[in-house]
Every structure is written in C-alpha cells, then in structure tokens.
C-alpha cells in the first residue's frame, strides 16, 4: 500500500490540497481587499504607498522594549520564522519541487545550513509551546486553534527532518507523511490564523498607508 499512498499524496492529494489552498487564500485575501475603505476627503499629507511599504518592512523588526509580547516570544518567534523559511526555500529537494511546479529555481544552501535552520525552527516551536503552557496569561488566551495551527506547522518540519536524517521510519513512509502533513497545512491555512502568511502584509500595508496619508513617518 505504501507506494500507492505515496503516489496519491504526490498526485491527487496534492491537487486537492493546492485547489483548497488557492481557492481559499485568493478568496479571503481578495475579499479583504475589496471590502474597501471610504474615500478620505482630507488633504493627504504624505504618500500612502511609501508609508504602507515602509511599514510592511519595518514591522518585521519588533522592538522588544516597545512590544507587549516580551523578549522570549519575540525572539523565539523570530527564530522559528527564519528557520522555517530558510528550510522551506533553500533545501535542494524543495527547490526541485518549486522548479517542477513553477518553473522557477535558485541555488540551494548547503545541507549543513539547512540542518541548523531546521533544528532551530523545531527547537523554537517546542520552546514556544512549552511557554504557552507555562505562562498563565498565554495559557488562558490559547484556544484549540492555537494548538491546531502549532501542530500543523510543526509536523512538516518534524517529518522533513526525520526524512533527511533517516530517523524512525523508512524513506517511503516518511516521505508520504511529510507530503501529507504539508497538504494538511495547505488545506487548513486559508481558514485558520495561518492565513497570516499573506494577510500580515496586507494589514501592515494598511496601517502604514493610513499613517502615510496623515504624514506620520514611522
């Protein structure tokens, strides 16, 4: 059965996941944009565009002093996101996938670097989960979706790392689990807080644009 299952996740399963992901994401993001704002009749004091773009970039760097989130959350969150992106976009095997689907490719990073980025991402996620349990405020704020999205983001990292490092199961099983876990992530992403992978930038742009319009330069 294992070959048939691998074939399914590489074929039909992936088609379903891609379809749900794209329909869901395009719908949600476009719907968000089309909500529109009433035209402001005030005299603009600055450019919406430059303010918007600047904030999209600037918000990637959080000042822990000014943020209510605390050092730990900010730093661990940072490490996770960077580790996740490096692993996702710079592992040779992943680039081969992008090349096959999008026709685009770029140089891979050496495997040693990927190993480090994956371990950092996994470690940061575990630490964040523990913190969520231990910190009373975070624990009270968390609902099932927080744990669900944690698991959905964690599983691809874990199975991928096991696959590369030959841990636990055989290659076919791990490859099947890895692809399946990514497909679950894709299917859930548009309908959970994981949609922030796109909406973050829209909301940052919006905040920045409002300030830019008013001539506030932050």
């Amino acid at each position: 059965m294992e070959q048939e299952m691998l074939l399914w996740v590489r074929g039909t399963g992936l088609q379903i996941a891609a379809a749900v992901f794209v329909v869901g994401m395009v719908y949600r993001m476009l719907h968000l944009l089309l909500l529109g704002r009433k035209m402001s009749l005030a005299q603009p004091r600055g450019s919406e565009w430059s303010g918007g773009l600047r904030t999209m970039w600037r918000r990637s760097f959080v000042s822990t002093k000014l943020s209510a989130r605390g050092n730990f959350t900010v730093i661990a969150g940072f490490i996770f996101h960077i580790g996740f992106f490096v692993t996702l976009f710079f592992l040779g095997q992943h680039i081969a996938l992008f090349r096959a689907v999008l026709g685009l490719h770029w140089p891979a990073l050496p495997r040693g670097v990927i190993d480090i980025s994956a371990v950092l991402a996994i470690g940061a996620m575990v630490a964040l989960l523990v913190h969520r349990f231990v910190d009373p405020v975070k624990r009270l704020l968390s609902d099932y979706q927080d744990y669900l999205t944690w698991a959905l983001s964690f599983l691809p990292l874990l199975t991928g790392f096991m696959l590369l490092r030959k841990i636990g199961f055989d290659y076919i099983t791990l490859l099947t689990l890895h692809i399946a876990s990514v497909e679950m992530l894709l299917v859930a992403a548009p309908f959970t807080k994981l949609a922030h992978m796109f909406s973050t930038f829209i909301s940052r742009w919006y905040n920045g644009a409002v300030n830019g319009f008013k001539g506030i330069n932050i």
């Binding site: 590489r10 992936l14 040779g92 095997q93 495997r111 290659y171």
Partner: protein, 363 residues
C-alpha cells in the same frame, strides 16, 4: 515420465565440476545473508534433492524476464537454475510446439500434482473475460487458475506477474492484474523487477529447494534477503545525497563528478531491490553506476509514478493547472461576494430612516 534425477547426477552428466557447484552454493548463501557454513549445507541438500518439475507460464509479457535469465553472463551461476529444475513447459525455451507442447504441460500437471512449482511471468488480463491474451485458444486467466490448483507454490517472476507492471499502467485497457490478485490459496513469492535480477530468481529457487519452504517475505511478497533495503540505502552515491550535491543535467560538472542523481529523477530512495549490491551483468555494475537514476522498476505502479526523469518531490499530477483554475474560482467568488456585501450595505443604508431632531426630543 520418470521421477526427475538429482542435481548431482545432472551436473555430473554435463561435466560441471563440484568446485563450481560449491562456488555457486557459496554465492547463494552470501547473497541471502545466511550464516557462515550454510554453503556446504546448501550444497549437500541441493545435490540430493530431486529436481522439481517446473511449469513456466508466460502471459502478458515482453519475454524480458526470460531474456534476463537466459542471457545472463555465461557460464554464469544463474544459468545453473536450469540444472536445478526440470523445466517441463516454457513457451520460449521448449523445443516442442503446438499440441505437443500443451500436452507436456498437461502431463506434468497431472504427474506432479501438488508438487510442481509454477513460475509465471507477465500479467493476466481479466477484462472482457480475459480475451486479450490467449495461448492455444485458452485465456491466460483460465490457464493460470487451472495450473495454480496443483502447484506447490507460485513464483511471480518480474513486475508484471508480481504487481501488474506495464500492462497494468493507466489506463490499463486489458484489465491486467497480478498473480496475487487472482490466486489467494497458494504460497506466492514475488520476484519483482523489470526485469528482475537473474541471480535473485536463482537464489530464491535454491532456497526453496534447500529448505523446502519459501524464504522470508516482505509485505509485498518479495524475499526480504533481496528486497529488504532500498537502492538508496546501499547506493555508492549516497554521500553526495547526504551533502545535498546533486547533478542538474546528465552532462554537467556534477554528473561528471558522480554526484547524486536525485534531481534527475532517481527513484532509488523509494525502491526496494538488490541492484546496488548484487549488480547486473555478472556483477559488472548497476544502472546508477552508468549515470542513470533508478526508475523504480521493482515497485508497484512504477509506470504511473510520473516521469522517470522528474525528481521525487515533483507532483505526479498537473498541479499548476489546478492552481490556476482555483485562483480564478477564488477570485470570482471574492468579487461576487463583495458585490453582494456592498449591495446589502447600500440597501441597509438606503432603508435607514433619517434621524431628526424630533426623534431625539422624544415625547
């Protein structure tokens, strides 16, 4: 037909020395990873056993499996298979033809009922009553069901007999299936590969003759001794895989340096077979040593697993078109629903009654 002579007599008649026979047994013992000392035990047993009657049925196949066995390097150990058994029926190899051939099959089936080994290569078409492949006016399906009844065990030689193979690939116009899809009450051993490694066929038969039982099988019915590991597990290019050094084309720098063929479509990581250790052509090499990735020929559905040259992470179905269609649907839905939202908003706005000072004054 008299009971078949022993292998020892047979080898003696053919002038094959005891020395090369022992060499053969030692090779078999090593290949099957049997404990030291088993070679002499194998030799002692093999020499004494009566050569079993073997009926070899060829169905929907290309004769590649028979070729693999008979064209193996001579005087290869593999060719000893024909001394170990009494091949009472084999399309390609028998001298008899027509009625005489079919007669010899029937005679063997009667005389050695319950004892003969049935070897099958090729898949069995079952669509439309199995009319797509017939021998002497009988369908393969019919012939297999009949021959299986008196067989002690069945050996499915090659990926077609073991898993359906090429005839079973999409869209499978003849309804081709594997032996194990049809026969449920006999021990079946699958020696998959397109073609299978000749030494593996011989090894399995030697094991059967020596121990009187089939070797340990994996969940696909394949002998674990040969299919227990993947090509990737034993590939000499593995260090390059682990370092992420991949050849990008068949003639780039990486290819010349012998880097891993993963991105050129190698299916070694998901393929169980003994190529990397047993090798081909009398131990000369195996495909990856010639610079071509493994195509996964010993696994079920390998024809349907996408292009042989597409890397493992590449989808096996068209994802890009699905994504494009999905984007159009998503965009359409977003536009439609925003229009609805706006219409609703306008309606509410229009139906709202204007608040006047009088309203606020109250009564």
């Amino acid at each position: 037909m008299k009971e078949h002579e022993t292998l020892e007599q047979r080898l003696h008649e053919q002038g094959i020395s005891r020395r090369s026979f022992l060499k053969f047994c030692a090779a078999m013992a090593t290949m099957m990873a049997l404990p030291p000392g088993s070679a002499s035990a194998i030799a002692a047993t093999l020499a004494k056993v009566n050569r079993p009657s073997v009926i070899w049925l060829s169905f929907q196949e290309c004769t590649g499996c028979t070729e693999s066995l008979t064209r193996s390097h001579s005087p290869a150990l593999e060719s000893l298979i024909f001394d170990m058994i009494s091949l009472d029926y084999h399309h390609t190899l028998q001298a008899a033809s027509g009625f005489a051939a079919e007669q010899s099959r029937e005679d063997a089936m009667k005389e050695f009922h319950g004892k003969y080994l049935l070897l099958v290569d090729g898949s069995i078409p079952i669509k439309d009553g199995g009319v797509y492949s017939t021998i002497a006016g009988r369908t393969n399906l019919d012939m297999l069901l009949e021959a299986a009844k008196g067989a002690a065990a069945i050996v499915a030689v090659g990926s077609c007999a073991a898993f359906g193979g090429l005839p079973n690939a999409q869209p499978n116009p003849t309804g081709a299936v594997a032996v194990s899809d049809l026969i449920k009450d006999k021990p079946i051993i699958n020696i998959s590969g397109c073609p299978p490694i000749p030494a593996v066929i011989t090894g399995v038969l030697a094991h059967y003759l020596t121990f009187g039982a089939l070797p340990a099988l994996d969940d696909r019915g394949r002998p674990k001794a040969f299919y227990g590991e993947t090509i990737h597990d034993r590939c000499y290019r593995r260090p390059f895989y682990d370092q992420g050094k991949f050849a990008k084309t068949f003639d780039d720098e990486g290819a010349r340096n012998g880097w891993c063929l993963y991105e050129l479509g190698c299916k070694g990581p998901t393929t169980h077979n003994a190529c990397a250790t047993t090798k081909w052509n009398g131990g000369t090499s195996f495909p990856i040593e010639s610079g071509h990735g493994c195509i996964g020929c010993s696994e079920p559905k390998f024809w349907d697993a996408g292009s042989f040259y597409a890397p493992l992470p590449a989808p096996t179905a068209d994802v890009a078109s699905v994504a494009k269609a999905a984007a159009a649907i998503g965009a359409g839905a977003a536009v439609a629903f925003s229009a609805l939202d706006r219409a609703k908003k306008n309606k509410v706005q229009q139906s709202r009654e204007k608040l006047t000072v009088d309203d606020l004054k109250g009564e």
